[in-house]
Symmetry: C2
Subunit: 196 residues, 2 copies
DNA sequence: ACCTGAACACCGTTCAAGT
DNA sequence: ACCTGAACACCGTTCAAGT
């Protein structure tokens, strides 16, 4: 199953078409969940014909894959900056900054992010941006290796993201979207998890 | 959308039909994911006609809902026992026991459990067993309220499950299914998260 | 009480025809 | 280069007919 975009839009009109398709897909995923994400509904809400959709996306999953890559890309941008800043900070402050960055990203559109995270594990998306996010976190942790519970830094970087996402998600589900409070709780959990 | 079973099988033959349907649904969800869960595929693999399936389940989602309730039911059984035992233990040991119970349950069929957890949030399942699991954890935490970061014990009980599930899941995804090691890491994270 | 499978509406995807 | 919508295979669900 290929997920790559089938063809790049070159004319501005076509770029607008692709934007409208992706915006419609994101909206449907966010409001109604993956079950309601039908190619017909996406095309209708985007105001284009079903044929146009298939000119740029080879199948339905490619829509989700494209949204995943966009989301990872924007997270990468902010995490790379945060990683740079964290380099000059004490462990505690740097961790807090990285966590804040991930929490804010997820709070931007929590329902959409949760769906994308789940779908991303079932689809063979080759998500370079997500890997680079992991690298930034790993570098930060390596810088403070001495404080940490040794063993597997790669796994630790992975778990930093898992825990941040799941605690944010659980918090949103309870109706609490206060970024500062979530950040505080996540950092508390991560300190216990990472440090010896 | 109704998710309740449409009709209870009374004759042994019919009970076998329902069992075969649910076993087929679980197998497909586990091996191929929710996209491949089609009512036709379930009926075919269960060796019954599509009509029989709809005699007991009002729609496709009801299959998933039934699997969720079975899973929660079996978790409830073991968590209730663990909660009883934990009552006489020190905080650290009791927490470890509860965590172990949840980790073991999830490691039993990790792929299936992950799917069910996600689907459970999108479906209006009225999961009494899951609520009772939460109550057991909450009672345990309340017993040690003095040690904890005050505020919201209900949220804390919720987060105990979120963190346990997400760390177990992340670990399995990396290929590490060692229950003891996972338990150790989860308890470390939870101690930092819960205790002041 | 339980089972069956043809029938119908709808969804994913293609393709020939257009500008 | 881009757009359109009829067409086809398949899936969810029903229902009349059976044991």
């Amino acid at each position: 199953m290929a997920l790559a975009a089938r063809k790049m839009p070159v004319q501005p009109r076509a770029q607008a078409t692709v934007e409208a398709i992706l915006a419609a897909a994101a909206g449907i995923l966010e409001r109604e969940g993956p079950t309601r994400l039908t190619t017909n509904a996406v095309a209708a809400q985007a105001g284009v014909s079903i044929g146009s959709l298939y000119q740029y996306f080879p199948n339905k999953q490619a829509l989700t894959a494209a949204l995943i890559e966009r989301s990872s890309g924007s997270l990468e941008t902010s995490v790379v900056q945060a990683g740079r800043d964290a380099k000059t900070m004490l462990f505690e402050a740097g961790l807090r900054l990285l966590v804040r960055t991930i929490v804010r990203h997820q709070l931007d559109r929590p329902g959409l992010e949760r769906t994308l995270a789940y779908e991303g594990r079932r689809l063979p998306v080759d998500d370079g941006a997500a890997r680079r996010v992991n690298v930034v976190i790993r570098s930060f942790l390596e810088q403070h290796r001495g404080r940490l519970w040794g063993s597997d830094i790669n796994a630790a970087a992975d778990d930093v993201q898992s825990m941040t996402r799941s605690l944010t998600d659980a918090s949103v589900r309870r109706g609490d979207r206060n970024a500062d409070l979530i950040e505080l709780r996540v950092v508390r959990a991560l300190r216990g998890y990472l440090c010896r």
